[in-house]
């Protein structure tokens, strides 16, 4: 059933896929198609010459010719044959080589396209899709396409050409006999569809159970120590056995069908062969009038080639049938990949950009050099002039509403003023909307209503890249990338020198632990930073932000427990980084909140209290209750 569904809407996918390959390789693809054609034609020819040689032998034999008499005719035919073989070898060699280049090239460019596109997608896309699902586009789906492009498509093309050729030849000799082969082949096709379809269905089911079993295995292995502590081995084994048994059933079914398809088709082809032979014999014996384009009467000379053709026909079907699975899987993969490529990238209608500037007599001038001063470059469409404004770090929200899903408003009427150099803290329970607010400043999401102005410019007018470059961010959970410590710090600003990176590490308080690593700044980190402690990861994230040196910082405090001394070092690093910048802090410890210029207490997406620490304490409201411990947020 799933097979039918896939086949139904896959026509567009095939077309798109071919178009894509053509766009990648506008010269190579037609060349390969031509080679396939040549190859198909050439490989059909030898049988013709072989028939000729056999005819000569037959003739020589029946007429008792001597070898000397037959030799020139045989050798001339064999000579042509050798020539054809050489052509065929050359074409085959060229085709195989080019195909390897085309396949790997297509996959590489497809992956690049996918990745580049993925990077352009809005954060919302990553909210909606599981990491594992996106991963499998790159692994399983691309793999499935490899098989389809490198083998199934060419095989299909060759087979189609050969089948057409043979059909024509059959029509030329005898339509009756041709019909027998066509009908017989229909049986093979039906078997292929039924058995092959079942097999494809179960292979897909198997994928599902493999994933399920892997889920159980992962959970039980990763929780292995908890299982031991609770003497829970038996229960874990039960859960595993159930998943294992289901996987076995699915795998067994899938392999049973795919294993039996070949022997069935192979032997059915023999049956068809017999059928052709018997039909031929009967037709001759009963002198049935032949219908054909050649007008030849039914005779042994007509029947014998049909025997060969019936084998050829069956061979074609046998070659196509294993390709069906891979085409079904490949197209399903291609479809998922195309769906990802069709996702709308982040829109950006901003035109205000961020530049370095120098100030002379109160006039800002753009410069290519790195200066201390950033400026907004504001082109005015109306009169074509360009104005420059200093980046000060003034961020204001006016009546902002926000919804992840239209209609379900998460943030209501948020108004706030972050003046240059101020520290604004957000306090509130999980789900109160603290992180969401900061995600609006850097435009990970777009507002539903209201506006945000940055140095008096509506942030929608600022190019996203410029906006984000002006904002430093430290996330709650530190993400580092595979590479050296130095590379990870330099991530903040790619043209930073080693000295600048080390200076940033010193500012963050990371320098001393880095120097203790085996290779210092050149130590390789795993992607998940598993060779560093959490505190050390945080220090690197601070150093990374410090190297970028943005006028505005957004900090999501880490909640995870790190030992007291490291925590103090991290705190010092954060303080050093905050100095002289506008900072938005999502606070989890009230100690960091206290010296903020403004504290916003959030509850269910609304600001319920605002003011300085002293004001809020004096007010004896929610914040006071939180602070005195009379009320718990969670």
């Amino acid at each position: 059933m799933s097979q039918n569904k896939t086949l139904k809407y896959s026509k567009g996918t095939v077309k798109r896929l071919l178009k894509m390959i053509y766009d990648f390789f506008p010269r190579l693809l037609p060349l390969i198609v031509v080679l396939i054609l040549i190859n198909a034609v050439i490989s059909a020819m030898p049988s013709v010459f072989m028939q000729k040689v056999i005819a000569v032998i037959q003739d020589a034999w029946e007429n008792h010719l001597s070898w000397e008499e037959a030799k020139p005719r045989i050798y001339s035919n064999v000579g042509v044959l050798v020539g054809l073989y050489i052509c065929s070898l050359i074409a085959g060699f060229a085709f195989n080589q080019l195909m390897a280049i085309l396949t790997q090239g297509t996959l590489a460019r497809l992956r690049d396209t996918m990745f580049r596109h993925m990077e352009s997608l809005p954060i919302a896309y990553f909210d909606r899709h599981k990491r594992g699902d996106i991963m499998s586009y790159y692994t399983n789906d691309v793999d499935a396409m490899r098989q389809m492009i490198s083998q199934s498509f060419p095989q299909l093309l060759v087979s189609l050409i050969s089948i057409t050729t043979i059909l024509c030849i059959m029509m030329y000799y005898s339509i009756w006999m041709g019909l027998v082969i066509v009908l017989g082949s229909m049986v093979s096709v039906i078997i292929t569809r039924v058995v092959g379809g079942k097999s494809a269905y179960y292979f897909m089911a198997q994928q599902k159970y493999v994933a399920a079993a892997e889920g159980v295995v992962e959970e039980m292995i990763n929780g292995g120590k908890v299982i031991k502590v609770f003497n829970h081995e038996e229960e874990a084994e039960e859960a595993f056995d159930a998943a294992n048994e289901e996987l076995f059933q699915a795998a067994y079914n899938a392999n049973r069908y795919s294993n039996t398809l070949m022997p069935i088709l192979n032997n059915v082809s023999y049956l068809i062969y017999v059928l052709v032979a018997v039909t031929g014999g009967l037709l001759i014996e009963h002198n049935v009038t032949n219908v054909s384009f050649s007008g030849l009467p039914i005779s042994i000379a007509v029947v014998v080639p049909f025997l060969g053709m019936s084998r050829q026909f069956a061979g074609m079907i046998q070659q196509i049938s294993p390709q069906i699975n891979s085409i079904v899987m490949g197209l399903a993969g291609a479809e998922r990949i195309f769906a990802m490529l069709d996702e709308e990238p982040e829109t950006d209608n901003g035109y205000v950009t961020l530049v370095h500037a120098t100030e002379k007599n109160g006039v800002l001038e753009e410069t290519d050099e790195r200066t201390e001063l950033y400026a907004w470059k504001h082109p005015h469409q109306a009169d074509g002039t360009i104005t420059y404004a200093k980046v000060r770090g003034d961020i204001r929200f006016f009546d902002v509403d926000f919804a992840y899903v239209p209609g379900k408003t998460i943030l209501h009427n948020i108004t706030l003023y972050g003046k240059p150099g101020q520290k604004i803290a957000f306090v509130g329970a999980t789900g109160a909307g603290k992180t969401t607010i900061t995600n609006l400043i850097n435009r990970f999401y777009d507002l539903e209503d209201g506006k945000i102005r940055y140095d008096d410019i509506n942030i929608n007018k600022i190019k996203k890249s410029a906006l984000r470059k002006s904002l430093g961010i430290i996330l709650q959970e530190t993400v580092l990338f595979t590479g050296t410590v130095m590379e990870n710090i330099r991530y903040g600003r790619l043209d930073a020198t080693d000295e600048e990176c080390i200076a940033a590490a010193k500012l963050a308080g990371a320098d001393s632990f880095i120097r203790h690593l085996p290779q210092g700044y050149q130590t390789m980190l795993d992607g998940d930073g598993s060779n560093l402690s959490q505190g050390q990861c945080q220090l690197l994230a601070i150093a990374r932000a410090a190297v970028a040196d943005p006028p505005v910082m957004i900090m999501d405090e880490a909640t995870s427990s790190i030992d007291t001394r490291t925590e103090q070092i991290v705190q010092r690093g954060m303080d050093a980084l905050m100095a002289g910048r506008t900072v938005f802090v999502i606070a989890h410890r009230l100690s960091t909140v206290k010296n903020s210029n403004v504290i916003l207490v959030l509850d269910h997406g609304r600001v319920i209290e605002r003011g300085t620490h002293d004001e809020l304490i004096a007010k004896k409201g929610q914040y006071y209750q939180l602070y005195t411990g009379a009320f718990e947020l969670e």
Binding site: V82, L89, D112, I123, I221, E233, A277, T482, S561
Partner: protein, 595 residues
């Protein structure tokens, strides 16, 4: 011989699938024999037709052919089914054996392999072995047999002409082998690169916010392009070499054809068809095709088996791994009380470590006492307590619980009496109630609620839409860090242990709730020995005694007051935190979900 050893170990998992495993080759043999005979019968049939014989003769051969192909079909079908059964069943048993073996593993066994590698062995590796097993019992029997049978038939029909194969087969064989030898290292080098590329994709999905914040989309894309381009280069090279197989095979095929045509035609004509007739002549070509494609198969098998041998080796390693912690011969099942004694205990994780993790620890804890443990990262706090439920065994001295060495107890009884809340804890997919019942699967709803109250988890559970029936997602991602910790404590409390160990288990819980949990435990389980490891001094301040650990040694033991007077480390940690708290004027830390 390593190879034989692997087979010996793995083949123990065949068990109830031995029958299909043995039947498959038998069926394959039947299939191959008929497959080899059929072209011969066809040759006879063609000759009959050519000779212009009547329908009777044709039908005679036709029937034989029909019966032969039906029998061949039956054998082929049966072989396909038994093969699927044998290989999938074998894989199932193997997964079962490996998984059960892992359940017997001690902590140090798990540490040695790492969780991630155990998962790979259970999934990808066994998948590879299943494929290879299928090949071995079916294709690896079929291909050489086919080769021999076809050659025999070719010799029978073509006589000395068949000797051409003795020339062609070695050439093709050497060619195929050479291709396999050259491409295998390329693939081997390519696959890790491929994995690395996929990891970088994963890294980007995980860190997409960082990428976008730093406007590094282009930078990342370029980085990815380089990786992807590297892979393209390696795999294109490998596949281009591999693609030589087709033309090589064709070349051999063509040579045979040309040889048979020239020599054969001469033979027919000069001997007047006595040595070989036309039917046999064309059948010879059919056999030559079968011979050469069998060779092709063999080279594929060679590659497949070589690849999966590595997987098999990795799985064998797990199967042969002996658990480092096993039950004693006559285990003690009764644990008298919750007293704990460390007598001159030393411990290290691996035999060849430079310095032991714990050195000469002497410590006596009375039943019912509350003990706090404080110390910096790397001071071996966790290592110390993990010796109590025998998660690891001491390397020197002895640990006693209830007056007896922990190694004399039945493991299950010991671990039931000693509940431990691990630092890196996990919840499992299932409802909250199911997760709590890990502590005791027969606990009543009331008991479950009672422990949740003690762990201060009842409030948030009651607020959840489905209460105790709320589903926890894999890894416990839908509860906050503090909530998760409280659930883990409740789970341990349900065991009603004699000894309860909390290894930094309230770090994400705010100090007020933390204090409340300790109060509840004092009230409801006073006789349980409680050991609390913490970063915050406030978590251990009210303990009967506090142990200060430093670098694997006990630096001091005493009450909070005593230590404040006498111990430098404790004083430093205490004041660094109290200084902070004085600023806060209140012992509250807002806690937050680790999103």
């Amino acid at each position: 011989m390593v190879f034989l050893n692997i087979i010996r170990v793995l083949s123990k998992s065949i068990r109830e699938y031995m029958k299909p495993t043995l039947l498959t080759p038998l069926f394959v043999i039947g299939e191959v024999i008929f497959e080899a005979l059929i072209p011969y019968m066809i040759a006879m049939l063609v000759n009959e037709i050519k000779a212009g014989c009547g329908t009777d003769r044709i039908l005679h051969y036709a029937w034989i052919l029909v019966v032969m192909s039906l029998v061949s079909l039956l054998f082929g079908y049966l072989a396909g089914v038994t093969c699927a059964q044998a290989s999938c069943g074998f894989a199932k048993n193997l997964r079962h054996d490996v998984f059960y073996r892992i359940q017997e593993f001690s902590f140090s066994n798990i540490d040695r392999f790492s969780s991630a590698s155990l998962v790979t062995r259970l999934t990808t590796d066994i998948q590879n072995i299943q494929m290879a097993f299928m090949m071995i019992i079916r294709t690896a029997i079929r291909a050489p047999l086919n080769l021999v049978m076809s050659f025999a038939m070719a010799y029978y029909m073509g006589g000395s002409m068949a000797l051409i194969f003795l020339v062609v087969i070695p050439i093709l064989g050497i060619g195929l082998y050479a291709v396999a030898r050259v491409t295998m290292p390329l693939f081997r080098a390519g696959f890790p690169k491929y994995d690395a590329m996929n990891e970088s994709v994963e890294e980007n999905i995980k860190g997409i916010r960082v990428v976008k914040s730093f406007v590094r989309e282009d930078y990342e894309s370029d980085k990815f392009h380089t990786a992807s381009e590297n892979i393209r280069r390696i795999f294109t090279k490998a596949e281009r070499i591999l693609a030589l197989n087709g033309p090589l095979m064709q070349m051999c095929m063509y040579s045979v054809m040309v040889f048979v045509l020239t020599v054969g035609s001469r033979l027919i004509i000069t001997t007047n068809g006595e040595a070989i007739d036309i039917g046999q002549f064309s059948t010879l070509l059919t056999y030559s095709f079968q011979i050469l494609s069998s060779l092709m198969m063999l080279s594929m098998i060679f590659v497949m088996i070589t690849f999966s041998a590595e997987s098999a080796g990795r799985v064998k390693e797990v199967l042969l791994e002996k658990s480092t912690i096993t039950n004693p011969e006559n285990p003690d099942h009764d644990i008298e009380d919750g007293s704990i004694d460390f007598e001159d205990v030393s411990f290290s994780y691996s035999e060849n470590a430079d310095r032991p993790v714990l050195e000469h620890i002497n410590l006596h804890i009375r039943s019912g006492e509350t003990i706090g443990i404080i110390g910096g990262t790397g001071s071996s706090k966790s290592s110390l307590v993990q010796l109590i439920p025998r998660l690891y065994d001491v390397t020197g001295g002895s640990v006693k619980v209830g007056g007896k060495d922990v190694r004399s107890y039945d493991l299950e009884a010991l671990r039931d009496s000693v509940a431990m809340v691990l630092q890196k804890n996990v919840l499992f997919s299932g409802t909250i109630a199911e997760n709590i019942r890990w502590g005791n699967k027969n606990a009543s709803d009331e008991e479950v609620k009672a422990v949740c109250r003690m762990a201060c988890a009842d409030e948030f559970i009651d607020q959840m839409p489905d209460g105790y029936q709320t589903m926890i997602e894999q890894g416990g991602t839908n509860v906050s860090g503090g909530q998760k910790q409280r659930l883990c404590i409740a789970r341990a409390l349900l065991k009603k242990p004699k000894i309860l160990i909390l290894d930094d288990s309230t770090s994400a819980v705010d100090t007020r709730t933390d204090a409340k949990i300790r109060q509840e435990m004092r009230n409801y389980i006073p006789s349980t020995t409680k050991i609390i490891i913490a970063q915050r001094t406030s978590s251990v301040e009210d303990a009967d005694r506090i142990i200060v650990l430093d670098n694997g040694k006990i630096d001091a033991i005493g009450t909070s007051e005593e230590l404040l007077r006498s111990n430098e480390i404790y004083r430093e940690v205490y004041f660094s935190q109290h200084h902070q708290e004085r600023e806060e004027e209140s012992p509250i830390a807002l806690q937050e979900a680790a999103a």
